[in-house]
Subunit: 340 residues, 2 copies
């Protein structure tokens, strides 16, 4: 059972994707908005309208800086919402955009962002069909915030949910972790590093469509965004009441990302990704799923990183490279605000 602490004021950590984010949802939102759609707490709501099974999701993007190696707030706003639909088995169809602009925001930047959104939407095969723009006086917002909401159609027959995860399931990731977080941090700080770090921001719907076509037994998928792989797995372990075992040596991390983490004392497990998903499936299916992933551009570095064990419920155990073990908790504090 979650213990809800009460705060007088909102902290940065309430937006971290970690412990206080979950407390905010459980303590403030759910008691008022309670309904079966929302209570699933997956990346998208699953809706049945007539005989159509749809998914619906929303995210606001406040990333700083708005332009970064590998993307910008516009492409990120498309990819993030596309991915939230795709990991729920949805084929993304339609998207809305809500812009909040600060008076004085440069039109050149706005048009670059709009062009980038359009390009990202085209690549992902999703149509931007409705929108809204508000302008607030100088100082009332920082440049530009973008909300996107998305609608997809769910054609996959299986039930994709943390509730479908079973002991023995294998956990697969589609590539290296922490690239987006490291790219944003490097854009902000002068680390005296030459090596370029590029965000992994990308639409996962193509990859996921290939996986689902070839594998009828996928149990659960999640994109590992805010809070990184560590937060997502800790949340899943709690929510599904399972023990997750992962091994550090199998988790792909790029050298330059590891370098940034060493300089700043960060753990790549908790760095945000914007083009990474974790997938749970029966061990018998894992080789086929892995092969499907590795054939796709966005899954070349896919790897099996662990499994679901019959152990202590609600926790993630990491076997470290030097042979030790540690618990991966939900992150506390907010190391990198405005990561997405």
């Amino acid at each position: 059972m979650t213990i809800i602490r009460k705060y007088d004021k909102v902290l940065l950590e309430h937006g971290s994707g970690g412990l206080l984010s979950n407390e905010l949802i459980a303590g403030s939102f759910l008691p008022h908005f309670s309904n079966p759609y929302l209570e699933r707490l997956e990346d998208s709501a699953i809706l049945t309208i007539g005989n159509q099974k749809l998914c619906f999701t929303t995210d606001s993007y406040v990333v700083s800086p708005i332009f970064f190696p590998g993307g910008d707030i516009g492409s990120l706003a498309v990819h993030g919402t596309v991915n939230d639909l795709a990991v729920c088995g949805g084929k993304p169809l339609f998207m809305s955009t809500g812009f909040i602009l600060e008076e004085g925001f440069p039109f050149a930047s706005l048009e670059k962002i709009i062009a980038s959104m359009a390009e990202a939407a085209k690549t992902a095969g999703v149509k931007i069909v409705t929108g809204d723009t508000k302008v607030v006086p100088r100082g009332a917002a920082d440049g530009i915030f973008i909300n996107t909401s998305g609608i997809g159609i769910v054609e996959y027959e299986g039930s994709l949910s943390v509730k479908s995860i079973k002991a023995g399931d294998v956990i697969i990731i589609n590539g290296t972790i922490g690239d987006h977080g490291a790219a944003i941090i490097k854009s902000r700080e002068n680390l005296g590093m030459e090596a370029e770090v590029i965000s992994d921001s990308a639409p996962l719907n193509g990859l996921i469509s290939e996986i689902l076509k070839a594998n009828p037994n996928i149990h659960c998928m999640r994109d590992a965004t805010r809070g990184g792989l560590g937060a997502i797995l800790a949340e899943i372990a709690q929510s599904a009441n399972i023990q997750i075992n992962i091994a550090e040596q199998f988790i792909p991390v790029q050298d330059n990302v590891r370098g940034i983490c060493e300089i700043l004392g960060l753990d790549p497990l908790y760095l945000a990704n914007e083009g990474k998903m974790v997938l749970f499936c029966p061990s018998a299916d894992a080789p086929n799923v892995l092969a499907t992933m590795q054939k796709h551009e966005l899954g070349k570095a896919a790897a099996i990183i662990g499994n679901v064990a019959t152990g202590t419920q609600g926790r993630v155990v990491l076997k470290t490279s030097i042979g030790g073990e540690r618990i991966v908790d939900l992150p506390t504090g907010e190391l990198v605000p405005r990561i997405c």
Copy 2:
């Protein structure tokens, strides 16, 4: 044809719902996002998924102050999106919420707003099924911004669109104009006025459902929000290439709203509403539509305010109370930023 002026920086007026808002859409968004769904430029996109006709809309809310007589940013965020669905003939079903919070925002205010949203959603019969919260550092936003996106199902058989408006159509409004704008202005300024002014923020889906049930020949509906009745009619006149004639004496305005307008030199025609819709229908149907409206709580002060004439295309002509005539243009400038 719209002449698009280019600006270096975003002005407050680009969010006004007036001339520069339209230029922003036509000059910056449409060239990139162009598709038949978006180009309708109605309050919601109409989507066909399988055999279902759905509508989809989004709005961000940045109103200041966040609590005002008659509502708050939470109820407003529900009503605004419910109304955008309803005027397109949609029965609102599902809604998303995206919160952007400033670090330090009081939890007491947040919980009051969440409770207010939940209450408004319940009244409107819509379910909040998915959400997101971001927190930005102190100074990077002003308190709280809320995005809501909504999905509705369109059951009305008629084609509700500015394109369906015909010469001879009668124009009906469901009540007094300018209440929301006046309430916000009065909350901000010390006008030395005793009389309370209460926002008209309300969900129009119940009223609209009654109207559509009883009247198969409605041509077009719009809610008259940002920019007020004047902006909406000017936009419709341009977009449908028609002349609209309205008579000042028939447009309902409360005395206290008129009072505020006189003190500040504002025109109630351009003050925002959050519970008002204009409707276009054949004159033969107008008595029945008006009667249906007046039977409903939110249509008691409904009135016929004008008609569609065969005159100069693309303009709105107001017959003033003292017998003169003037053109109602799209508003320029932004008299009341952060009205919604």
